[in-house]
Amino acid sequence: MDLFSNLALGFGVALTPLNLLWCFFGVLLGTLIGVLPGIGPVATIAMLLPVTFTLPPVSALIMLAGIYYGAQYGGSTTAILVNIPGESSSVITCLDGYAMARKGRAGPALGIAAIGSFFAGCVSTVIIALFAPPLAEVALKFGPTEYFSLMVLGLISATVLASGSLIKAIAMVILGLLLGIVGTDVNSGVARYSFGVPELSDGIGFVTVAMGMFGIAEIIANLEHKESRDVFVAKIDHLMPNWADIKRSTPAILRGTFLGSALGILPGGGALLASFAAYTLEKKMGDTSQFGKGEIRGVAAPESANNAGAQTSFIPLLTLGIPSNPVMALMIGAMMIQGIAPGPQVMTERPQLFWGMIASMWVGNLMLVILNLPLIGMWVSLLKVPYRMLYPAILLFCAIGVYSVNNASFDIYLMCLFTVFGIVCVKLECEPAPLILGFILGPMMEENLRRAMLLSRGDPTVFFTKPISAVLLGIAFVLLLIVVAPTIRKKREEAFQEA
């Protein structure tokens, strides 16, 4: 069996002491930032990107991946105990998780969240191992035409799945594409939009944009409201859910896992969407009388789904080299720092990297269960650190992180510019996530468009006459139609409003 020999290879890589250590560090840090509201995986990974330069590629990616799925675990703790989502993907867990905590059932809520997450983590690791290789095989046959259409599909579905106005999201994607091509054009050597600033001729750093719009803009948004944290400090004993709980939650965990895995693969999907969808689905199943009053299924389903979604969102990254959400865009950045071109060839050219990373996800999930359940008291006490003590630290790490990419203060100033821009965007209800995706895909899209047009001798109909490309664009078009259709638009708005 290929799968088993591949997984064996992966575990061989993931279980080396060095990689175990970095995996542990990643999930620990992930849990930490997951627990703490006000700092998310995007800002954390962006801060750590420059640091990963000094690590071997496998260790770097193992650690960064650990931060992302670790944050999904940590986020639930805060949601259940404090009624504040530690992570945006655990917004929905607040509803029933906090209700359970109020009833003195914080322990089982935390327990089922961890069990569900672990189960989902195991299943989605297997799903990646099963589905990534054949997908990469298909992707290897892709030419520039297919790649361009694939990126169009990716960007469209990212905007469709985003909350808020569709047309604004598309405009943000295009603005992102434009910002992405600032800097020296590889074909002609012309420095585009650099305004004679030498630092800009290398392009705008991805870390700079991500930290400005996600890291610091988020701090400022948090400072607009006076902090009010009501930590549920009642003693948490017996974390294990009882038999009735487990019997009730098992189907919810299964549904959450599979729905989450499926939604994670979609471009624009990932943990956030998965948790919302799983909760909405669960509310339509069986006995719905207890939802909002401490229904354990309302914790089990979204918590399984967000972990599954976080992990399967690695599939498009690893097989196609296309990021489906801002975290994956950062992973591309991390691979590029290491000199690895993301894409289907990673699996064949660097099997240790590919399978090592997948195996590490399972290892990391095991560590998370071990970490989270006994250490819950420690995480809770962390929540008592007031935000005013926390944000200057985040600010400092962002500033040092962005400086260290090029050892240039210019990048810090540029980051501030993007901070202000990020705040304006949030005020105008223009989401930054689509812009970030466009930003990372900008240069790739231009390059593939150029090659495709060169191959077709300037005939743009080639995108519709090549079968794979036509199908991809067709799906994109249908997605747009679906969202524009009034009935589904209403449903979509409802789904996003339920939090």
Binding site: S165, P392, I400, Y403
Partner: protein
Amino acid sequence: MRIKAPKDFWAGLMFIVFGLGFAIGAQNYQLGTAVRMGPAYFPTMLGGLLVVLGLVIFLRSFVIEGAKVPPFFFKPVILIVIGTVLFGALLKPLGVVIATGALTVVGALGGVDFRWKEVAILFVVLAVFAVWVFVKGLGLPIPVWPGE
């Protein structure tokens, strides 16, 4: 004409300005042909598309009702940005300790309540952490003290 959706009004305007900026800026470069695209081709196309989308959003704001733009809180924005810029400006000449001090104090002023004692402790902790982890541990080429 009454603006019914202020958020869309300003967002549309923003996209139009950016689109025009990129499209006009592209005219300094070669356009090329569809077969051999010059550096101006892609940005001109996208800039044009952005202007069109911006116009739709802009015009729509006179037709469809929408939410008001929430108020800006200038204090945190200004102080956080000043603190961060100061850090960037002071890092090379004066070293990471003094730069961290500037960032911590000015950044903390941007918060809701400012307590001197806490900020002082925070500064010491952050400065020690920055020196040990970033300079000593990770070996980033950042001076610690002035004139290093």
